[in-house]
Symmetry: C2
Subunit: 482 residues, 2 copies
């Protein structure tokens, strides 16, 4: 049997933090005099109480460190329990969100997916808008810690390639996670503040600047308006692009920069490839728009830049309904979402470095075909890559594509058409946000979907956020065997 | 420099055979008195002349065996040159097919894809209908030989796992290819004859029985009617299912059965999984149809059985416009096409055994996570699988998915919508035939697409049929370097 007490302890503590965080939107609602604040009080009391009791009950098992299996279980349990309690403020109170909607929204927040079941966002109380932003912001820091500490340790999805980045000498996993979290938090808070001030300076209202800076740095994509970033002027669009790009870069580089031991950011090959892909497709879609719709150069460039960046980083804001751009941009946008940002950032999906590793492996194989007697090794940033890394990257890729197919088929059983099913599955598993089509596309919302589809998509977000294998491993017989 | 003379010699001989085969539809057209026969005479003369001259010019290099690079080049060159000459009968004569249409149809034939640019098939001269069937039938035997001899030798797509199936003791590759081709031909001709006689006995007209048996055994899918198999009675649908399934099984098992050393067909794990998948989805779609449209049990079962089998085997016949079955079956059908049949058959796409190997690799990896000290190897049919096989299977999968995305995006630039682009790319790369949607779906044809899209799809068929790497390897610098 796996000793679940250390897991309960950590989750208990995190729930207390989550409950405490609910006081911020409560204050907002009191200040706003919209009468919605009691929902946050109820939610906070319930969450802190449950979390505190759980932590107390499990406190006698602290300090023993975590086994690999406990680490797997902890990671999944955190991303299952926190969204449930995070859903309470949506469920209680006056929004009349049903439980499934509340969990969907909360899961979409903490996994930084950004798909929403709320139409008419303008009518939501400010507290709830702030809570949505907070969920994404906390989820963002959470996934960075998971990506920098837990996934390399668990050797999942090839993340072990980032093990030697200078953090594995810090001792046991939980203290290390705390250490990383506090170091990253400084950067994360700093960047969020810079983003908020920039938005403010460019004319965004203070409340909008606060919430949108949070959802930008989390590459989350929750907005306060149904029109998303389409309601803001051009300058704010450019600022959004700048900070979305920063949020999709590997945070380990920022930490190294602060420590003085910076391997320059732009010598990181995944960063260069990431920028190269963004630039290529922005250029192509800009030209397409100018030719097809005769749009002016600046507007075509800006709309292409913003929406390509938004999808490629997995943020999911839209500054326009790109479904109307026509065949080519729509198909591009779908596949850009399957590329994703850099490892160790808040960005999600398959990620650039995995494609680099996969292509390096294919290249080595082609060379071996040319010269059957030679021995060729895949390399990443000049260093040879171990077979365990390659096989875990390819496993990730295969699981991602097969899961995408399975989720799309399951969504099809709920009555959704091909485009909605496939793009919805990709949007959830890749934590992107919007899908394609008039229903769940950039101009729609997930509200009209039936309950089954919402549960499936919520599960997809969780599975995708934890890089699939962390969740799937729990469903194997061997995991629970002694 | 690669000595291309042995390649020219083989292609020359194959062109002579192709040209000779054009006399069959010529006879058909003369018998039919439709006046179309001169097109075949012109095509045959041109093809035999070019082929004969090529073979003569290169005959001084025979008997030296082929290097690995020559084998790569030969395989691709065969599937590039034969479709061009096979296109001549469509191009010449009265059908007024343009060159791009003729090449598309010929490529679709020889790669056993079955996508057609001819609407109103009923109006085509019998000779051309026979030529379409012959192209697929010859293409079918060709891909079996490629799959049994060339791909294992080239270590492409994990096919080397089938190297030890008892054929690699036969000496040099070209004599071996001839040996295999003659052994397989006996089975292939026998099965085709059995299929034709069955169709005939069930009431199909003699000409239809001949051509449809050819396109069934090739899992090709060219039909003589716009309604495909929808024009035939229930009994013929069941017979079609039976022979499509036989055509998608590994032909090496049939050869072994003939030689008396048969490892029983049904103990082959890919065969069992293949049948399992077909049965599962037939059942699901049958129930779906009964519930959704209140269709009778037998009709629902038959339509599900036929169309699921047709797509899963990559044949591409339709006995109904399954686009109207609604969300779930349509999405299923798309992903079934990405599974495909068994290795070493005329079936195409990713194929069942690759999924088995990929999942075996993931399983080994999950076990290693559970017990970090243990050493776990992926197994196929109980035997450990080498790392080179696994990496070449995963390379295949990655290349297939990335090529699918790239081709879909390219198709998008020609103005096709998301569903048409993505399903068209899959239909071409997977050599399936029909895509989704009203345009290229089971009730449509590829005729309305513009030239650029037709060229792209033709290239996709070629690349998919040769398991991607055979073609891609030619585009690497190292291939042409000494
Ligand atoms: K997102
Ligand atoms: K086919």
């Amino acid at each position: 049997m796996i000793d679940i007490r250390p897991i309960g302890y950590v989750i208990g503590l995190l729930l207390v933090i989550l409950g405490a965080a609910m006081l911020l939107p409560m204050i907002m609602d009191i200040y706003d005099q919209n009468g919605h604040w009691p929902a946050f009080v109820q939610s906070a009391v319930l969450t802190v109480l449950c979390g505190g009791l759980m932590a107390l009950a499990c406190s006698n098992a602290v300090g023993e460190g975590l086994s690999i299996r406990q680490t797997f279980l902890l990671t999944t349990a955190v991303w299952l329990m926190l969204p449930i309690f995070g859903a309470l403020p949506f469920w209680f109170g006056e929004t009349e969100a049903r439980f499934v909607d509340a969990v969907f929204e909360s899961m979409s927040g903490l996994t930084t997916t950004g798909a929403t079941v709320f139409g008419h966002l303008e009518t939501l109380p400010s507290g709830l808008l702030l809570w949505r932003a907070l969920l994404q912001w906390m989820g963002g820091i959470g996934v960075i810690v998971v990506a920098m500490v837990f996934l390399p340790e668990l050797r999942v999805g090839g993340m072990q390639i980032f093990r030697s980045e200078g953090f594995d000498t810090l001792g046991k996993i939980l203290p290390r996670a705390g250490e990383i979290a506090s170091r990253v938090s400084v950067i994360y808070i700093g960047l969020t503040a810079a983003c908020a001030l920039t938005y403010l300076a460019l004319g965004m209202a203070p409340f909008d600047a606060l919430t949108h800076s949070m959802t930008t740095l989390a590459t989350g994509g929750f907005a306060n308006y149904d029109g998303s970033f389409g309601v803001f002027p051009a300058g704010i669009e450019y600022a959004g692009v700048f900070f979305m790009l920063l949020a999709a870069l590997p945070f380990v580089r920022y930490v190294q920069m602060m420590g003085g031991s910076a391997q320059p950011l732009l010598r990181d090959s995944q960063v260069r490839l990431f920028f190269g892909i963004v630039a290529t497709f922005v250029l192509m879609i800009t030209i397409w728009q100018m030719v097809q719709s005769g749009r002016g150069g600046e507007a075509a460039f800006r709309k292409s830049l913003f929406n390509v960046t938004s999808i490629m980083t997995g943020t999911g804001y839209a500054s326009e309904n790109y479904m109307v751009w026509g065949s080519f941009p729509v198909t591009i946008i779908f596949f850009l979402g399957l590329i994703g940002g850099c490892a160790g950032s808040t960005a999600c999906s398959i990620k650039v470095f995995r494609y680099q590793l996969l292509f390096a492996s294919i290249r080595a194989q082609v060379r071996a075909i040319h010269s059957p007697s030679g021995l060729f090794t895949a390399r990443y940033e000049g260093r040879p890559v171990g077979d365990d890394v390659l096989s875990s990257v390819t496993s990730f890729f295969v699981m991602f594509i097969v899961s995408l197919g399975a989720l799309a088929v399951l969504l099809g059983t709920t009555g959704l058409d091909f485009t909605t099913s496939v793009s919805g599955a990709a949007a959830a598993l890749g934590n992107i946000g919007p899908g394609l089509g008039h229903l769940i596309g950039p101009a729609g919302s997930f509200a009209p979907l039936n309950d089954a589809a919402k549960w499936m998509l919520s599960a997809g977000m969780l599975i995708g956020r934890l890089e699939l294998l962390v969740v799937y491993a729990l469903f194997t017989v061997g995991f629970w065997r002694d």
